[in-house]
Symmetry: C2
């Protein structure tokens, strides 16, 4: 299994654009990827900060995700809204 | 929807006990609670640190969880393994 928590900060004034693109990516991913256990984006309690929870059945499912048409189409737009690199925590199933 | 990330530190030497009890709680919860979107426990890359990702369909599902027999049976055992209070981050769906 492959699970990560991404914490990101979004550039001031770009929040609505970020949420729109991320929502599209999340919807397309969940609709098309049977290897997803959980894949959702969230606002944190800190303004401008967002958290993405991602869990895939296995490494192949993660690779299918990052190679997908929707991922490749949306991720550059998501990245362009970010204020700095994401803080990524990798997790291992108990 | 109700989503939280719990980060906890486990007392040295209690890791196996903690993992065993948490695994039982996770299994019972997922088997019996249709309101769960995602409910899993993980090891982080830091020794003795664990992360629980919890997402419920709504507040009623979270309340059903915390009132469940399995939650009430296992949570005191989980809590007894912890080295300090959990760090809890509440998240809001985009």
């Amino acid at each position: 299994m492959s699970t990560s928590v991404f914490k990101v900060k979004v550039k001031a004034g770009r929040e609505a654009e970020f949420e729109s693109v991320l929502t599209a990516l999340v919807a397309a991913s969940n609709a098309n990827e049977p290897g997803i256990r959980f894949y959702q984006g969230f606002r944190s309690d800190t303004p401008g900060e967002y958290v993405m929870l991602e869990s895939f059945q296995d490494k192949a499912a993660l690779e299918a995700h990052t190679a997908s048409e929707h991922f490749l189409a949306h991720t550059p737009k998501v990245a362009d809204c970010l204020d700095g690199p994401p803080e990524i925590q990798h997790l291992t199933d108990i």
